[in-house]
């Protein structure tokens, strides 16, 4: 295979990573932006989404597409509901103190991982792709499902944008993000907005997981890498800036694809981490973040 086709393959792989990363990171960014807290359990919500997908897919009869579609509906609902519960029963009691929330969500992360280990076991398990179309390009064949992941992620992200920009709940989230006390003075039930935002962020991680499992299998520790990459993305993009998060996800995903393919995945992670260090030194507010 020549250099051109090889690069094309690397870019296509990069786009798939970017799409999944964007979904995961947008959830994290939304929670940070609106609630000003860091959710360390975000990766565990991702893992839980994958696990629910595996469970649901295994219990739906018929062709794989039915099980997968059911998982796409059920996983975000289950994970979102659990996240809302965590918000109401833990974060709210901590009064959303940033440091306390970090510690508490580390606790949630361990609880979820151990619960997954005890119920699901240490083995990785596959989930069947909803379809097995193979795209034959002149130089190589490529998974049609992977391209579908890119399209589906774009659709979900467009949905998030519409939700934020055009709906009543989006307006409530944006107003709360600006000033929660003034929001309360205008009748906004900030507790409810927070629970909804936390649930939405976790549900987005779950959607990303459902998209990813036919490619990468389910495992109780699978949340660690997405969490790290999502953090890197959110920091580079600018904490709380959705646009910055999307751009950063594209850059990181693409460079991850290209560097992994031409050199090694480890080098790609090293470069991404280095990039974070540089951004933190020279532009602490992130590429798109407003100056604090």
């Amino acid at each position: 295979m020549g250099f051109g086709p090889f690069l094309l393959l690397a870019v296509m792989e990069g786009l798939v990573s970017a799409a999944v990363l964007a979904l995961t990171a947008v959830g994290l960014s939304l929670v940070f932006g609106v609630m000003r807290v860091v959710n360390v359990a975000h990766g565990a919500f991702f893992m839980l989404g994958a696990l629910v997908a595996w469970f649901v897919a295994g219990h739906v009869a018929g062709p794989p597409v039915w099980g997968w579609l059911a998982a796409l509906v059920v996983a975000p609902l289950v994970v979102g509901a659990l996240a809302a519960l965590v918000d109401i029963s833990v974060l709210k009691r901590l009064n959303y103190e940033p440091e306390a929330v970090i510690v508490a969500t580390i606790g949630v992360l361990y609880i979820l991982e151990q619960a997954a280990l005890m119920s699901f076991g240490p083995d990785a398990r596959p989930v069947a792709a909803p379809f097995t179309l193979r795209l034959q390009l002149p130089w190589f064949g490529y998974s049609g499902y992977k391209l579908f992941v890119v399209v589906a992620a774009c659709a979900v992200l467009a949905g998030v944008w519409l939700l934020m920009a055009r709906t009543r709940f989006g307006l409530l989230m944006r107003a709360t993000q600006v000033d929660r006390n003034t929001a309360r003075a205008f009748g906004i039930n900030v507790d409810r907005v927070y629970a909804g935002t936390f649930a939405l962020g976790a549900a987005l991680a779950a959607v990303a997981a459902v998209l990813v499992v036919p490619i990468s299998q389910v495992h109780y520790l699978m949340g660690a890498d997405p969490l790290l990459l999502a953090f890197i993305t959110v920091i580079i993009g600018g904490l709380g800036s959705l646009r910055g998060t999307l751009v950063a996800a594209l850059v990181i995903g693409l460079s991850d694809g290209v560097i992994s393919m031409f050199w090694s995945p480890t080098l790609s992670k090293i470069i991404a981490t280095l990039l974070v260090a540089l951004v933190l030194v020279f532009r602490p507010q992130g590429l798109f973040g407003a100056k604090a």
């Binding site: 600006v178 929001a183 205008f186």
Partner: protein
Amino acid sequence: MLRLEGVSAGYGAVTVLRGLSFAAEAGEVTCIMGRNGVGKTTLMRAIMGQIAVSGSVRLGGEELAGLPAHEVPRRGIALVPQGRRLFGPLTVAENLEIGLMTRGKGAVTRDRVLDLFPRLRERLTQVSSTLSGGEQQMLAIARALCLEPKVLLLDEPTEGLQPSMIAAIRQVVLGLKTTGVAVVLVEQRVSAVLDMADRVAFMDHGTVAETVARADLAPGAAQFATWVGV
């Protein structure tokens, strides 16, 4: 209309309001005066349920003390906070929408409010933080009026504004009075107080030290020197 009795409140270990009593009646402008740091803004926060309060805050017959903060505006009390506190990145229309969501009669309320502030009607899609200072203050008042309030609290609304804007705000306040709204106006300028007030409450040491009817206040009245130091 609005009646506070024995209200104490503060921030953590710091007590600011100490057994304060205060009343505002429908169709009247009640001004609050007092030195800087005496607790005027804290009083606004206490009424809005933003800080914990002991004592009684009643609207009509209903006790508001202890309600979650977001329930207070739903009962009909609207605040124009000191420093405006607009939702800066949101557009003018979105700022108004936040008020309209909670109370008010939708488009009817919105039109009535925009008739009071025609300049805002021309700027509905503008991001509110890019408005001029005077326009921002108009938006802060308009946003509060979108709640169709029974009681309107204005915390130093004319601070730092040019005379034409101050005159516009005066017109709005006097107009509200005729529609039966109870207006509570925190104001530092004696001339403005004498011009608009029906009654003046002077604050000192965390309480209302003296309440005087407008008719009993002359421009050089001793109360201004005693309680405000002007």
